[in-house]
């Protein structure tokens, strides 16, 4: 881990017309770390993510981030694919939008699809894919630019348990290849403990940090990690943090 953060939120606050949504909230991301933001619905987790992506501006406070095209990627809750375009064209989108030549973009898209375990679906359209496959296409699209910062907004919440676990392992495997920093929004504590090297628990909106937990186990996780005492203890610790955050006025 290098010392300088690759992205940070500094005392950011976001107000929406219906009221304050986030903050003041601080977060500094070291290169290559995986941070999970855990909190109740409406606590501003997704807002924090959009700030990091540069898709939204804070009302107060400062956002520092890599601003080059393709240096930051986002995976949304839904696969968010273009229904009229093939899997390959969907994955190639970030490249073609940033001016890559179409042949090169296609080749790199096919490689990215293969990396997420989707060989031979290049020509398929989203409606022909299962939910898990569509999510993998979405992941491939996020990775195709080899981002330094990958933002995942509850990416597995619509999937069944088996697919979620498989995808969590895939994310770790892919992370190990290029080691982007990952910020991962979830309201599932166990998923957060499995995925992240650091967990930030947030209070109900406007979300503030209610505590952090660092998870020492290496990434990708050793086999059977979910059944270890360390996993259980951390999960309970984070759950307790979350509960006291919810109970606080």
């Amino acid at each position: 881990m290098s010392a300088a953060p690759i992205a940070s939120l500094k005392a950011v606050e976001v107000d929406y017309p219906r009221g304050p949504a986030l903050g003041p909230f601080d977060l500094a991301l070291a290169a290559g770390e995986i941070v999970a933001l855990v909190g109740p619905s409406g606590c501003g987790k997704s807002t924090a993510l959009r700030l990091l992506a540069g898709l939204e501006q804070p009302t107060r406070g400062r956002v520092e981030r890599a601003s080059g095209r393709g240096e930051t990627s986002v995976v949304f809750q839904a696969p968010t694919l273009m229904p009229w375009a093939t899997a390959q064209a969907n994955v190639a989108l970030p490249l073609t939008l940033t001016g890559a030549r179409s042949r090169e973009a296609r080749e790199r898209a096919s490689e990215a699809l293969a990396r997420v375990g989707l060989d031979g679906v290049d020509a398929a359209k989203p409606a022909q894919l299962s939910g898990g496959m569509a999510m993998r296409v979405s992941l491939a699209r996020a990775l195709v630019t080899q981002p330094r910062l990958l933002l995942l907004d509850e990416p597995f919440s619509a999937l069944d348990e088996i697919t979620r676990r498989a995808l969590a392992e895939d994310v770790h495997r892919l992370w190990a290849q290029t080691r982007p920093a990952i910020v991962f929004v979830t309201h599932n504590v166990e998923e957060a403990v499995y995925m992240a090297s650091r967990i930030v628990v947030m209070t109900p909106g406007p979300g503030r940090s209610a505590g952090e937990t660092v998870i020492e186990a290496g990434l990708p996780r050793p086999e059977g990690f979910r059944t270890t005492p360390a996993f259980r203890e951390t999960a309970e610790q984070v759950s307790a943090q979350l509960q006291s955050a919810m109970a606080a006025p």
Binding site: L55, V74, T98
Partner: protein, 255 residues
């Protein structure tokens, strides 16, 4: 088996109704200028078929011409409006007013403007007016129907307005455009017929004119024949567009 029954059920109902109609006409001795029995209508339709078909073709050609122009104007205007919210607010009330004003009420004006000497122009114009709205509103809705998260993604990768329009908003609008054209085609046919009635001269020799002509001569069976051809043409047009929509949508989303 159930498919066969589903197919036969409406046919059976039609046969029953026609049978009852035929019997009632004979039993109650209804004069045929009032209500001809189906058998007479069939004979009149067959006898006048070449005339009715050429009239149907005239009406259809005017409706389709109107549809093409309506499509071009509505899509063009929708594009301009979708790119400029202020313009949309300016245009929307006018478009709505045009839509809710009954076409029959506008028809006499258009007949005067388009020239009493060119009833065909009036017919095409009126069909265009009714066909315009569903295409326009479909296109405007469609151009704004892009997934907001996809829009964010385009923003994230620094896409410009033109890129967003061509690569996101236009393709997102396709299902709405298809639906709009399907509805508009049916309306164009209605508009063409209404306009022919109002124009009320032999200048535009469409089906409505044949109906008027038969009415004046009390050839009620022939009126029914023209109605029959008109209804069948409407059904055929709808079926054709429905099929086109299905085929294009299947290609669009891959299944």
């Amino acid at each position: 088996m159930t498919r066969l029954v589903n197919f036969l059920a409406p046919l059976l109902l039609i046969m029953l109704l026609l049978g009852a109609w035929e019997l009632a006409c004979h039993a109650l001795a209804i004069p045929s200028y009032r209500l001809p029995p189906p058998s007479q209508i069939a004979v009149a339709t067959v006898q006048n078929l070449p005339l009715l078909l050429s009239a149907a073709w005239n009406t259809l050609a005017m409706a389709l011409t109107a549809l093409v122009f309506a499509s071009l104007i509505a899509c063009g205007l929708a594009l301009v409006v979708a790119l400029n919210p202020l313009l949309e607010r300016a245009v929307q009330p006018l478009a709505t007013t045009l839509q809710v004003t009954p076409i029959v009420a506008i028809a006499p004006l258009v007949v005067i403007w388009a020239g009493l000497d060119h009833p065909q122009r009036a017919v095409v114009t009126l069909a265009l007016v009714v066909a315009f709205f569903p295409i326009f509103s479909g296109a405007v809705t469609g151009l704004k129907a892009a997934d907001p998260d996809l829009e964010r993604l385009f923003d994230l990768y620094g896409a410009g307005r033109a890129q967003k329009l061509v690569r996101l908003r236009l393709p997102s609008a396709v299902p709405f455009l298809l639906e709009g054209h399907k509805v508009a085609a049916g309306l164009a046919l209605v508009g063409a017929v209404v306009a022919e009635f109002v124009a009320g001269t032999g200048g535009a020799q469409g089906l409505a004119w044949r109906i008027l002509e038969a009415e004046h001569r009390l050839e009620t069976a022939k009126m029914f024949g023209a109605l029959l051809v008109l209804a069948l043409m409407g059904v055929a047009l709808y079926a054709a567009l429905q099929t086109a929509e299905r085929v294009i949508l299947r290609r669009w989303r891959g299944r």
